[in-house]
């Protein structure tokens, strides 16, 4: 408990990190507002003129279908959080489990197979893999999530594996084994909690990666299938900008940039707080 | 009594981030006289190494706060040097041998290259000349095949040999002062004696005063003229070695002595 307090104190002192946390929290509130049906509900109605200028009617103007860009960029916050949360939670979980098992049975065939799987997944060009998954799943809306989870766990897995191998040789684990606790209990109760900081940091990194990847995938036509996202807005805007209409592009990139910047600062602050090694050099 | 070559007055070392913490070195003062071997003894963690690194100017200012009224090396006040001036003095006028022969040498350069670069930097020698001086220096510290040592990478040598390379580099420019930080702790017992004897002999031959940092009172008894006892960042005793063994005055000295006796028994 004491170390949690110390970490919180350290985070509090990190101005950029706190600003990042505030930004992420503000976005999260927007997402909650959308989920609750209070915000951004009017994102798909094509009522207005196309490419209208910003005004009282549509705060950021309208796109080529006459849809309200402001409504769409707010609704996309929800999309971003859905993708970010699902992908980061699942891939961190998968990485934690596979990494822990590999580390616990280090240098055995179990370890070898996990490393092999990670190596194989890392050797397949990512977008090719996503595209293949999307096709294998025949246009299912969560094909993108599956592909990201299937590849993003490898980094977490390797880190957790290394940490578990380190923890395994510590005295409290040795004594837990000596009194005959089963492996699974030791892993779940004594080993995994000690990798918490890695999981938290990795989850924040994967969150950013997932949102960035969604943009590219939506542009390639492999991303969000129904609904709207900043990626889809940017994909729309590739047509518009050549005709001189920048509202869609500016709104989506600004919303995206501020969230990613906030998350990156938060993630940095977490890394500094948990791993003072670099800061101490 | 010989004149002092190194005078340290009120040297304190603190971490830059936590000024509330106990300082690693607390108002350390002493004099190192020409030609003598002065031992700096104490339990591990008492601040010996930090004191040495502070004198050498090796502590990075974003982590450590170093203050001193005076650190004078033969007429030069070290605390007032620009980085460039300090670089000219380090390795030529004052030099250091480190504790870990495993990691203290750069793994990707040959021993010859690393010794040559000392000669080039401080003596302005060219390729040929620095090579010849290096081969001579390797011979001087007891390598039977200097040519081979010259072309070896550190990982190809034993711990004792690496420490000899280190001594060759430190003594290459015949410095006025050599700080030897636990130079033989990481070595096995027979090698320890050889390397230390070599070091002290070379210091005598070159007229180099040696500050010998150690926790081993056996080493102190055998090689040192005087000893400083350090405890909790402070110098608690400063005495001739025979006095120290006969009439220890500070509890920390007594503890050290009893540990040494325990090790013998």
């Amino acid at each position: 408990m004491g170390s949690d307090l110390r970490l919180w104190g350290q985070l509090r002192a990190d101005k950029a990190g706190m600003a990042g946390l505030l930004v992420v929290a503000a976005y999260f509130l927007l997402a909650v507002g959308v989920w609750a049906g209070m915000l951004g509900q009017d994102w798909s109605s094509a009522g207005g003129d196309r490419w209208a200028s910003p005004g009282a009617e549509a705060w950021f103007g309208t796109n080529l279908l006459g849809q309200d860009i402001f409504q769409r960029s707010i609704y996309s916050v929800r999309t971003a959080f859905e993708i970010g949360l699902v992908v980061s939670v699942l891939s961190t979980l998968l990485g934690a489990i596979l990494g822990a098992v590999a580390g616990w049975y280090g240098k055995t065939w179990v370890d070898g197979s996990v490393l092999w799987l990670a190596g194989v997944l890392d050797s397949i060009p990512f977008y090719l893999f996503v595209a293949a998954v999307a096709f294998a799943l025949q246009g299912k809306p969560w094909a993108m999530h599956v592909a990201m989870v299937a590849t993003f766990w490898t980094g977490t897995g390797r880190l957790v594996r290394a940490e578990v191998m380190k923890i395994k040789s510590r005295e409290f684990i040795l004594s837990a084994r000596a009194i005959g606790l089963p492996d699974l209990v030791i892993l779940a109760r004594h080993v995994l909690p000690n990798t918490g900081h890695i999981l938290l940091i990795q989850a924040s990194i994967v969150f950013v990666a997932a949102i960035k990847t969604e943009v590219i995938l939506s542009f390639l036509g492999l991303g969000v299938q129904d609904g709207v996202s900043w990626g889809l807005m940017l994909a729309e805007s590739t047509q518009e900008v050549l005709a001189g209409h920048f509202n869609n592009f500016i709104a989506a990139s600004a919303m995206l940039f501020v969230l990613l910047m906030g998350f990156n600062q938060l993630s940095d602050a977490l890394q500094d707080a948990f791993d003072p090694r670099e800061a101490a050099l | 009594m010989n004149p002092a070559v190194l005078t340290v007055r009120n040297l304190s070392v603190q971490t830059a981030s936590g000024p509330g913490q106990r300082p690693a070195a607390d108002h350390v003062s002493f004099e190192l006289r020409q030609g003598e071997v002065l031992a700096l003894v104490g339990e591990s963690g008492c601040g010996k190494t930090k004191t040495a690194e502070a004198i050498m100017g090796l502590l990075s200012p974003d982590r450590w706060k170093v203050t001193a009224d005076e650190i004078r090396l033969e007429g030069t006040e070290l605390t007032r040097l620009t980085p460039r001036e300090a670089g000219r003095i380090r390795g030529s006028e004052i030099s250091m041998v480190f504790q870990e022969p495993l990691t203290a040498l750069d793994p990707v350069f040959t021993c010859g290259y690393q010794l040559c670069s000392v000669f080039r930097r401080h003596r302005g020698m060219g390729r040929r000349e620095s090579r010849e001086s290096s081969l001579a220096m390797f011979g001087r510290v007891g390598f039977s095949d200097p040519e081979r040592t010259f072309n070896s990478y550190p990982h190809q040598l034993s711990g004792g040999m690496r420490q000899r390379v280190m001594i060759a580099m430190a003594m290459a420019c015949r410095p006025a002062v050599l700080i030897a930080d636990e130079p033989t702790t990481a070595l096995d017992v027979t090698t320890q004696a050889q390397v230390l004897a070599q070091l002290v002999e070379l210091g005598r031959a070159y007229g180099t005063a040696i500050l010998l940092i150690t926790h081993d009172l056996g080493v102190v008894a055998q090689y040192a003229n005087r000893a400083l006892v350090m405890s909790g960042g402070k110098i608690v005793e400063n005495a001739r070695v025979d006095e120290l063994f006969d009439r220890p005055r500070h509890p920390a000295t007594v503890t050290l002595l009893s540990h040494a006796a325990g090790a013998v028994n």
Binding site: I124, A131, A132, V241, S253, N264 | -
Partner: protein, 312 residues
């Protein structure tokens, strides 16, 4: 010898895994081509005939083995959609991708190394913080946003209008520069943040090593410590990152850049093949990437031996 054998076995297992996964995804679960090949109102027999030709009636293992055999005998076949020989397509497109990606890839790494060194040299000072801020900013901007922005800014009348909006009509040096500049700038901007971060972390760790303290104790200047000791000791992680990002950048990076700028390279061909279910092309690309990975691993091991005397 033992070492070489282990490497070979490792490489073999990796190829096996990559091909197995890509086979399962792209061929076994991939798009069914029967109906694009048979005519309208085909009879049940015709359909069965086509399926037999395509090998759809075979069990998984047999189809996988024949897939592997084709790959290793370089029997790449012809594209389903254009009928052109796959080897021809590769011969045409790979050089384009290499010309397109090399300048940005190298510049992005060199710039990252330079900024990383500068940040390490001035660690904790304002210039280090500035470089860090720049890296985080670069990491927070989507690749797509960078491309769109640079295209509007450099290629349209709304900006400077200096370069062509899209395409690849390269006939000589000047036209090469004309078409390669904007993609290169995009690639540099998007990779430099990650690269700088990575290289700075490597350099800072190296700068904290014991032998750096030794070099300082013998009077080496900060610049020579950084240039000689830190950089030379960092060559192993630098090489690793550089080498292993080659196949990923070439395929994934070119996929996006080439489809955006309409450049006929391997990335665009691959993407089209995925959307059309053009299996012969996919087989070739996936197989070649896996082989490239193994090749790069072997090459990297050889480079390690050159740059680090401890690796024998």
């Amino acid at each position: 010898m033992n070492f070489a054998l282990r490497k070979l076995a490792h490489g073999g297992l990796l190829i096996l895994g990559v091909t197995l996964i890509s086979f399962s995804l792209m061929v076994w679960f991939g798009p069914d081509q029967t109906y694009s090949l048979v005519g309208k109102n085909a009879s049940a027999e015709q359909i069965a005939e086509i399926r037999k030709q395509l090998g759809y009636d075979q069990p998984f293992i047999e189809r996988y083995v024949s897939y592997l055999t084709d790959l290793f005998t370089l029997n790449l076949g012809a594209s389903n959609s254009s009928g052109e020989a796959v080897s021809n397509i590769l011969k045409k497109t790979i050089p384009v991708t290499i010309q397109l990606m090399i300048p940005g890839f190298i510049l992005g790494n060199l710039l990252g190394i330079a900024l990383g060194l500068l940040a390490t040299y001035r660690k904790g000072r304002w210039i280090d913080r500035l470089i860090n801020g720049f890296s985080v900013t670069s990491m927070s901007i989507s690749f797509l946003v960078v491309i769109i922005f640079l295209q509007v800014f450099l290629c349209t009348p709304y900006g400077l209008n200096l370069f062509p909006v899209r395409g690849w009509q390269v006939t000589g040096l000047s036209s090469y520069l004309l078409y390669v500049t904007v993609p290169t700038l995009s690639l540099v901007f998007i990779t430099v943040g990650y690269n700088t971060r990575f290289y700075r972390a490597v350099f800072v760790e190296e700068a904290g090593k014991d032998h750096i303290r030794t070099a300082r104790a013998f009077g080496a200047s900060p610049a020579s410590i950084l240039w000689r000791h830190v950089l030379k000791n960092s060559l192993v992680p630098i090489t690793t990152r550089f080498m292993f990002s080659i196949p990923l950048i070439v395929v994934s990076g070119s996929l996006l850049i080439e489809s955006y700028f309409g450049i006929p390279g391997i990335g665009k061909v691959t993407f089209d093949a995925i959307t059309n279910g053009d299996q012969p092309v996919l087989k070739a690309v996936v197989g070649l990437t896996a082989v490239a990975f193994i090749f790069i691993q072997v090459l990297t091991d050889m480079i390690y031996k050159l740059i680090d005397p401890r690796i024998a």
